[in-house]
Symmetry: C2
Subunit: 141 residues, 2 copies
Amino acid sequence: IQSTEIRDVTVGDLMISSEKVAHVQTQNPLEHALLVLVKTGYSAVPVLNAQSHFKGIVSKTMIIDSILGIERFEVEKLSQSTVQEVMDSEVPTLHRDDGFMKALKLAINHPFICVVDENGYFDGILTRRAILKKLNRHLHE
Amino acid sequence: IQSTEIRDVTVGDLMISSEKVAHVQTQNPLEHALLVLVKTGYSAVPVLNAQSHFKGIVSKTMIIDSILGIERFEVEKLSQSTVQEVMDSEVPTLHRDDGFMKALKLAINHPFICVVDENGYFDGILTRRAILKKLNRHLHE
Ligand SMILES: Nc1ncnc2c1ncn2[C@@H]1O[C@@H]2COP(=O)(O)O[C@H]3[C@@H](O)[C@H](n4cnc5c(N)ncnc54)O[C@@H]3COP(=O)(O)O[C@H]2[C@H]1O
Ligand SMILES: Nc1ncnc2c1ncn2[C@@H]1O[C@@H]2COP(=O)(O)O[C@H]3[C@@H](O)[C@H](n4cnc5c(N)ncnc54)O[C@@H]3COP(=O)(O)O[C@H]2[C@H]1O
């Protein structure tokens, strides 16, 4: 097995570019975000601001947690709150020139990692699936 | 890199055993299943029958999809429908003696794979995280 080969692979080689990534915006009401998540079937998606800067990720769990009251689901909150109020903004990011090993280490604890450019613009995502596919091919060589 | 080493690893070496896995039962109302998913924070969990046989998996998306009407979330359906009516029963499974390469291949398309014994009893789950951790260690040797 050529261990050098896999170290030459970059995030840019494996990522899904931004135009193919479902995302929502910071100012969107939770109702819109939940519908995007339910329609796409994804557990979580990236959050951008109006200028396409990467701001964080939002998941179904974050939204449902925020409307789950003591007695019932407070469905009216879906139209009253925005993505910015429930999203997680403290998530690691990668640059497309970063190496495979750095990405693999992050993927241990993150189903996907957002890729941003030097100005903080959203560039795409790197998924566990892409990493596992690469490793599976690598181990069969 | 010793490629033989990783091929000697079995599902049993990496899996999370059943007593540490959150799960629900086929006859549970959707409301109970959604609360388990929200409380644990997991996107999906295994479904067992009353005899602890593995029956499938249920996800937040499956539950929310089933209560999402044209105009609103039909929250009353959460107490009227059961897990069995919305779960996915056609999922691949593994045996604890199966090899790492077979598990890696399945993990490309599945965030976790349920492990069952020869009688169909639920034995545990193998997660993408466990596989990635192993591969990360393997590539650093
Ligand atoms: N529509 C679909 N068709 C086929 N397979 C599907 C699918 N939706 C989900 N999956 C499968 O389920 C895995 C977990 O999806 P999840 O939505 O929890 O977690 C996803 C989701 O939160 C996010 N993601 C993936 N692709 C995305 C996209 N195009 N736009 C936005 N977010 C995406 O990255 C996470 C990891 O994705 P990954 O591909 O590694 O792993 C995916 C993939 O193997
Ligand atoms: N409470 C928590 N603490 C720390 N990290 C957490 C966490 N909950 C989720 N994560 C992280 O998020 C990943 C995706 O979780 P998800 O719930 O979508 O998807 C999970 C979930 O559906 C299921 N799962 C994992 N552990 C489970 C358990 N003990 N019981 C039931 N289901 C479990 O297997 C999928 C893949 O799990 P994996 O560990 O590879 O990957 C997990 C893990 O890296």
